[in-house]
């Protein structure tokens, strides 16, 4: 289907009336630049929001990964069969790209010795002081942004993307024990920042 731009295209209604994602995909494969613009306009906010929630505050990385998602989508568009929404298909690509980034960061980071610092982590309990106007979710986000990148990413991967320590270990080439230790230390740092916030 790709590479036949001179085939006369069927009339394409404005995007607001397009319910058939497959038709939009076909228009892209015909290299219709107007359909390409509609595609970018329709789906960039959704993909950007997903990537931003995982990788903020790395704004440049967020933009780079969103671009990688769209280029990968174009290169694989012939595989899109229309069996599900185009949005879900794109978010699937986005998830893979974000996980590639997690893997690169955690795979290349000098992870802590899995036996180091065991005695330092005494409790995982979060102090129950008043949050004031702030919600638990807002404070969690604020504190996560204070953490080093490897701690932040391992927590996102575990809790936001719901990957087990074993899955993360398999993806990064680390041992499951090393990932569990990294998770424990990341949670400990998180708890310490939370406690300090409560005291200040």
């Amino acid at each position: 289907m790709k590479g036949s731009p001179e085939d006369l295209a069927p009339r394409r209604p404005p995007l607001s009336q397009v319910s058939d994602d497959l038709e939009l995909a076909r228009a892209l494969l015909r290299k219709d630049r107007k359909a390409t613009a509609d595609f970018v306009e329709a789906y960039t906010d959704t993909v950007h929001a997903y990537v931003w929630r995982r990788l903020t505050p790395r704004t440049q990385v967020v933009d780079d990964i969103v671009q990688e998602v769209f280029l990968a989508a174009w290169r694989n568009l012939e595989r899109y069969t229309g069996s599900g929404p185009l949005k879900s298909w794109l978010l699937g690509i986005a998830r893979n790209k974000v996980e590639d980034h997690y893997r690169d960061v955690l795979g290349s980071a000098g992870l802590v010795d899995p036996h180091a610092g065991v005695e330092e982590i005494l409790s995982e309990e979060i102090p129950q002081e008043s949050l004031g106007e702030e919600s638990i979710e807002d404070r969690t986000e604020r504190i996560i942004l204070m953490l080093p990148a490897d701690y932040r990413m391992v927590l996102r991967w575990r809790y936001w993307d719901k990957r087990s320590a074993k899955e993360m270990a398999d993806a990064t080439g680390r041992t499951e024990k090393a990932i569990e230790r990294l998770l424990a230390r990341a949670r400990d740092q998180f708890r310490r920042h939370w406690s300090e916030e409560g005291r200040s």
Binding site: P5, E6, K34, F39, W52, D63, I126, T140
Partner: protein, 107 residues
């Protein structure tokens, strides 16, 4: 409450995210068009129009010019200042209808 419980709770909440910048959308569009052009000509402007696409004033001029189809299938946005502004300036001062870089402005 354990830290893992707090993290699970925060992860379950759908945090509002900012819209993508218009400069990002502009760069995405340019990159996609370049990628499409790398494997052969783009759909001609006349065919884009017959498929329901709205051409900008410059594309209309290219479409009616007495030049070969090969030239008409190139991406005229590559030499347009709207592309330059769209890719580098948020809320760029470009307004004419039919221009994708205008379409991407968050206003």
């Amino acid at each position: 409450m354990k830290s893992s419980d707090v993290l699970q709770r925060a992860a379950a909440a759908e945090r509002p995210a900012p819209r993508a910048s218009s400069t990002l959308k502009s760069r995405l569009f340019s990159a996609l068009c370049d990628e499409q052009a790398s494997s052969g000509p783009l759909m001609s402007l006349a065919h884009c129009k017959s498929a329901g696409g709205k051409l900008c004033v410059f594309e209309e001029l290219v479409a009616i010019s007495p030049i070969g189809e090969g030239l008409k299938s190139r991406n005229p946005c590559n030499v347009c200042h709207a592309r330059l502004l769209g890719e580098h300036v948020e809320n760029a001062p470009i307004y004419w209808p039919g221009c994708p870089y205008v379409q991407f402005q968050n206003r």
